[in-house]
C-alpha cells in the first residue's frame, strides 16, 4: 500500500462504504476507495445442462437483468457458506455439491470488492426467502440460451456472462 498521511471515512452505509486516503508524498494526491466486504455468485446446474438464473431488478441501473444468484459476504461468513445461503434464499434450492470456479475483481480501479464464483450441483427444492430490497424471479434455461440472451442484451451482467463462458468453455473440460 502506498504511504497514507490521513484516511477519511466519507460514508458507511448498508451496501457502500467510501473512504478517501490522502497520500504522503508532498502533493495533494488522494485515492477514493469503495470498501466492500466481498461477494459470491453461484451457477446452479440442473440436469441436462440447464441452469437456474434470476431476473433481478437493479436499482442503480433501473433495469431488470439476467444474473446468477449472488450476494454479499456477511461479517465472518466464509464464501462457501455465503454461496449456499444466497443460492437457497434467492432460488429456493439447496445445493449438495458446491465447487469454486474462480474469483474476480469487478472494479479494481475504485473498489476493493472481489467476487467468488461457484458452480453448484445436486439441487434440492426448499423455500425461497428474499430480503426486503430484493426483487427477482427465478428462471430455468440451458447454458447456451443464457449466453445467447446475455449477448443479445445491450448490456450483460459481468459476473454472470463470465460464469457461463468459463463453465462452458473451460471448467467442463477440466472435470
Amino acid at each position: 500500500m502506498r504511504e497514507v498521511e490521513e484516511t477519511k471515512i466519507i460514508y458507511s452505509g448498508k451496501v457502500v462504504k467510501l473512504r478517501i486516503d490522502y497520500l504522503k508524498d508532498g502533493g495533494k494526491k488522494i485515492r477514493e476507495v469503495v470498501e466492500h466486504p466481498g461477494a459470491v455468485a453461484v451457477l446452479p446446474i440442473l440436469s441436462g445442462d440447464r441452469v437456474l438464473l434470476v431476473r433481478q431488478y437493479r436499482y442503480p441501473i433501473d433495469e431488470w437483468i439476467l444474473e446468477v444468484p449472488a450476494g454479499t459476504l456477511k461479517n465472518g461468513e466464509s464464501p462457501e457458506k455465503c454461496a449456499l445461503r444466497e443460492l437457497e434464499e434467492e432460488t429456493g434450492y439447496r445445493a449438495g455439491i458446491l465447487k469454486k470456479m474462480l474469483t474476480i475483481y469487478p472494479c479494481p480501479g475504485y473498489s476493493t470488492e472481489s467476487i467468488h464464483i461457484f458452480v453448484a450441483y445436486q439441487l434440492e427444492k426448499t423455500v425461497q426467502r428474499l430480503e426486503e430490497d430484493e426483487e427477482l424471479t427465478v428462471v430455468e434455461m440451458s447454458v447456451d440460451e443464457a449466453i445467447r440472451e446475455l449477448l443479445n442484451n445491450d448490456v450483460a451482467d459481468s459476473k454472470t456472462l463470465l460464469a457461463l463462458l468459463y463453465y462452458k468453455y473451460v471448467y467442463r473440460g477440466l472435470q
Copy 2:
C-alpha cells in the same frame, strides 16, 4: 426508477460519486448508488494471436494485476474515441481498426457503471502517455498465455478475463 422522495449527494470526487436516494414508500428505505460516467476496455490484437496487456498497480486492492488497457469516459466523449485514446495513452499504440465486442455491468448492485469492451487491430507504434496516478507496464503475450495467467492468479480482473474468453471462444467464430 422507483419513486424517490429525496436525493442526497454524499461525495463527488475525481473517480467516485456517491448518492443516496430516499424512497417514497412510507418506510425509511434508502438506496446507495455509486454514480459512474462509464468506462471502456480494449483488447489490442497484434499479429499471430498475440495481445497487448498492461500490468497495472491498483490502489484499492494494493496489487499489480494483469489487465486490458481501459479507462473512464470523459464528459461528452464517445466510447470509441475513449477506447482509442486510452489504448494509445496506456500502451503507446494507435489502432487502425476498432470493433465493439460487448458491454457489461461490473457491479449493478451498487454502481451505474457500464464498460464497453472493444477489440483493436492494425496497431501502429506511437508514444505512451500515462496520467499522474497511473502505474503500469505494457506486456505482450498470446491469448492463451493471458488466459492461463489470469486463471492461475488468486483473483482475476473481470473485464480482462471476459474480454479474452469472449474473444477466443465466441467473437472469432463470428468473424
